[in-house]
């Protein structure tokens, strides 16, 4: 009975959500192996080998999988699937992309975005944009699972697992990576930030986001956005918090000029403290906010910036 955790990383650094997956794996009380696929990803493998609870790291280091496709990752997993009962990955775009492919090939159901491990076969997961929590029991011998990072504490810390090299098994005949265009930011990554300040349609333009950025820099916060702000072209779409964007659960979430549609709430309502700044006192966001300030954001944000010194 062994768990295979598939690492999400960018060849340099481990995506923080991977450590939350190790936290979820620890709840299953089985040996944990971690699969790392990439190019020049030795440091990633070492970091994961040093994480608590990891018994072995399997490293596929190959120039052909610098940006592994779903086809490559699933073929690699299937080549060693006999040895494992659980397959776990973070519910990032990386994990969501390949895990259902693995599940289908194994002929099992995938359990998406679990937020709680009840026992070895039973898991909780949100449905209907987080408006209901389903408890599901798997009847499959092998379990393919994606993990919602915000549901579990991260495990890093003290381990000393060996790194074993594996050969790349996948062929690239049918799909290939062409290019990527990443949004550059000095601020913390949205899904792992302790504080997030998000803007909505009320920001009126992309230029006005500098009002949020100034405050974010003072708080060491990440900047997010509602779908309305993204669709209006104010900020790139990887800023989006919501059912169709990123799911976050920071200590403090500040929603500025965001009405609080179901879609957006699904992405942030598990935050510890929610602050809403909105001039419409009827806005649904106030029904989930711990602290609400009914005020024009163009007046409130400079004042807030000032007050934070």
């Amino acid at each position: 009975m062994t768990i295979l955790v598939i690492a999400d990383h960018d060849n340099q650094q481990v995506a923080p959500a991977t450590f939350n997956v190790l936290g979820a794996a620890a709840k299953l009380n089985q040996d944990v192996h971690v699969l790392v696929m990439g190019q020049g990803a030795e440091k990633v493998a070492e970091t994961l080998g040093a994480a608590a609870g990891v018994a072995k790291v399997l490293l596929v280091n190959n120039a052909l999988c610098a940006h592994p496709t779903a086809e490559q990752v699933s073929a690699q997993i299937l080549s060693i699937a006999d040895q494992y009962d659980y397959f776990l990955v973070a519910a990032t775009t990386f994990g969501k992309n390949f895990m259902p492919r693995v599940a289908a090939k194994l002929g099992v159901a995938q359990i998406s975005e679990i937020t709680e491990v009840v026992d070895g076969e039973t898991f909780k997961r949100p449905v209907y944009a987080g408006n209901a929590i389903a408890t599901v029991k798997s009847r499959d011998a092998k379990k393919a699972i994606t993990v919602r990072a915000t549901g579990f504490d991260p495990l890093s810390g003290e381990g000393n697992a060996a790194v074993e090299s594996l050969d790349l098994v996948a062929d690239l005949a049918k799909s290939s990576f062409i290019s990527q265009e990443l949004t550059k930011s000095e601020r913390p990554e949205l899904t792992s930030a302790k504080i997030i300040i998000s803007g909505g349609r009320g920001m009126q333009s992309g230029d006005n986001f500098h009002l949020l950025e100034a405050i974010a820099d003072k708080l060491g916060a990440a900047v997010g956005a509602s779908r309305a702000a993204v669709d209006a072209g104010f900020v790139p779409n990887d800023y989006q918090v919501g059912q169709t964007g990123k799911i976050v659960a920071p200590d403090l979430y500040i929603a500025v000029g965001i009405s609080g549609a179901i879609q957006h709430l699904a992405g942030m309502k598990d935050s510890k403290v929610i602050v809403a700044i909105n001039k419409d006192e009827e806005a649904p966001i106030f029904s989930v906010a711990d602290y609400g300030l009914v005020m024009d954001l163009f007046k409130a944000l400079p004042e807030l910036n000032e007050a934070l010194g």
């Binding site: 699933s74 775009t93 990386f94 259902p100 289908a104 090939k105 359990i111 209907y128 209901a132 389903a134």
Partner: protein, 249 residues
């Protein structure tokens, strides 16, 4: 080239769902149902590919109860040429849906399947990937741009850090993200025309797919409710509360 688009009938995105008192599921009686928003985007993209002359025929398919015909008529009003309903009263899991779709893909000899990236009820985000796996076709998930040329489809994908472009050999499976396109509205003449387009209905038993669930739903419960907090009067008061009461800054 033929394109198959899979559409699902779900509780309308603007409805606030209510969990049933016996925790067996959510209330669907007397609730507005619509086409899943990601599926609408899939239909729109297929129709645009037909308008560009890339596709010759767009087939919309749905798996569900008899009312799902309405969802297929909507797809046809948006421009799909014909519809196929695989009829069942049971809620199918993603794997079974993928298996049923595979039988249709093979029977219809399509070159491209477009699906939404996820349905807004089960929030699974699985079916497209599973279908690609079962067919052994390449996949382009979370697409925000799709170009078909020379036997390949180039897909720009929305990934966590930004965008990624991949190239797939046809036949392939593509799943749509919200920003792929802006779906059109069906005009009244097109809604009337859609009523005369062919719609085949076949029972799920004819597909030979085993639809026994792999997952048992033990309960569906409302999430922990969050109470509205307090309204503060000024920015100064807000900062004071965050510093001294919530202690988060």
């Amino acid at each position: 080239m033929k394109i198959l688009v899979a559409v699902k009938r779900v509780i309308d995105a603007n409805v606030k769902v209510r969990v049933k008192a016996d925790n067996s599921g959510v209330e669907t009686a007397n609730v507005k149902l619509s086409m899943n928003p990601f599926c609408e985007i899939a239909v729109e993209e297929a129709v645009r590919l037909k308008e560009k002359g890339v596709a010759t025929e767009v087939i919309a398919v749905s798996i569900g109860n008899t009312q799902s015909q309405e969802t297929l008529r909507t797809a046809m009003a948006l421009g799909a040429d014909r519809g196929i309903l695989v009829e069942t009263d049971q809620n199918l899991e993603s794997l079974a849906v993928a298996q049923v779709l595979k039988t249709l893909v093979e029977a219809e000899q399509v070159d491209l399947v477009i699906l939404g990236k996820q349905s807004i009820d089960s929030d699974n985000n699985q079916t497209g990937q599973m279908l690609a796996a079962l067919l052994d076709w390449p996949q382009g998930t979370f697409a925000s741009k799709v170009d078909v040329a020379d036997g390949h489809v180039t897909v720009m994908r929305e990934v966590d850090g930004g965008l990624e472009t991949i190239k797939l050999q046809l036949p392939a499976v593509v799943t749509t993200d919200l920003r792929l396109n802006e779906p059109r509205f069906a005009s009244l003449p097109n809604i009337m025309k859609a009523k005369r387009k062919p719609l085949d209905i076949k029972p799920i038993a004819d597909t030979g797919v085993d639809i026994t669930p792999h997952l048992e739903i033990l309960s569906v419960a409302p999430p922990a409710t969050r109470q509205a907090g307090i309204k503060v009067e000024s920015v100064a008061q807000l900062v004071e509360k965050l510093r001294n009461e919530a202690k988060v800054i």
